[in-house]
């Protein structure tokens, strides 16, 4: 997991997961159009196919009054959750962890169902829940004592360029990320 591309992908997934959750968990029932437009229905069709389910998740139904916005939101969500460098199965586990951590009733239920649909067994669910719970503990202990990061030297810096770009010249690289010796805590 030393490749930054994986972490960019994970961070974008976390953002999109939270974006879907905040709308689905809010008291916004009245926003859901009783009769979605043909344009919205077309997007709904793509969403049903992606998730292989008959209904459309609440987070998408609630923004269907603006089909253009729905289409763009869906485009971002589909990209975030599709197999890429990270697998869709792993992404659903990450989204489940984020949803549990943020107490999203919609997200926790939805991504749990998706994990199971994608083949994660009860043991795998417990693994993700256990990691989520343990690191919800460590983070609060660290915050309470205001611990400072001391494990940032574990992973090497990824010097590869942005997608489609070129790597920085050596001196620019060094200016951007000067090397420093490990620090004692």
């Amino acid at each position: 997991m030393a490749d930054d591309a994986l972490w960019y992908e994970a961070a974008l997934l976390v953002g999109v997961t939270n974006a879907l959750n905040v709308v689905a968990d809010s008291p916004l029932d009245s926003l859901e159009p009783a009769s979605p437009s043909a344009e919205a229905q077309a997007v709904f069709g793509e969403i049903r196919a992606f998730y292989d389910r008959a209904d459309v998740p609440l987070a998408f139904r609630r923004v269907a009054a603006d089909p253009g916005y729905l289409a763009d939101l869906w485009g971002a969500a589909r990209r975030a959750f599709a197999d890429n460098r990270l697998t869709r199965r792993h992404k659903e586990a990450l989204a489940f962890a984020v949803s549990v951590t943020t107490r999203s009733a919609f997200g926790a239920a939805f991504h749990l169902a998706e994990m199971r649909r994608l083949g994660v067994g009860e043991r795998g669910v417990m693994e993700v829940l256990g990691v989520t719970q343990m690191f919800s503990s460590y983070t609060k202990i660290a915050d309470t004592l205001q611990l400072e990061p001391d494990m940032d030297g574990l992973a090497a810096v990824d010097r590869s360029p942005a997608p489609g770009g070129t790597a920085p010249k050596r001196e620019e690289r060094e200016r951007a990320a000067p090397t420093r010796p490990p620090e004692a805590p």
Partner: protein, 84 residues
């Protein structure tokens, strides 16, 4: 800055120092001092022992790899806005 003085590994009793060696092996990294969190959890071995075992059990390879789980841990930490 931490709100408590983090004790050096040498200030802990010998059995705890063995646990620090295990932590080094877990991270596969030669820390100058055990990570701050390891030293905090070692403060109360009766709690830290159970907590550490639960963490290792959760992080061990199973249906998900250790690397996949490290990423789950990282996103949970990020969502909790934890800089540590």
């Amino acid at each position: 800055m931490p709100t408590v003085r983090l004790r050096d590994a040498s200030e802990y009793p010998a059995p705890i120092q063995k646990l620090f060696e295990m932590a080094k092996a877990w991270f596969n990294y030669d820390f100058p001092q055990p990570p701050a969190m390891s030293r905090v959890m070692a403060w109360d071995p009766e709690l830290g022992g159970f907590h550490g075992r639960a963490m290792k059990r959760a992080m061990a390879p199973g249906e998900f790899t250790r690397a996949e789980k490290e990423m789950v841990a990282a996103v949970v930490s990020g969502v909790n806005a934890c800089a540590y």
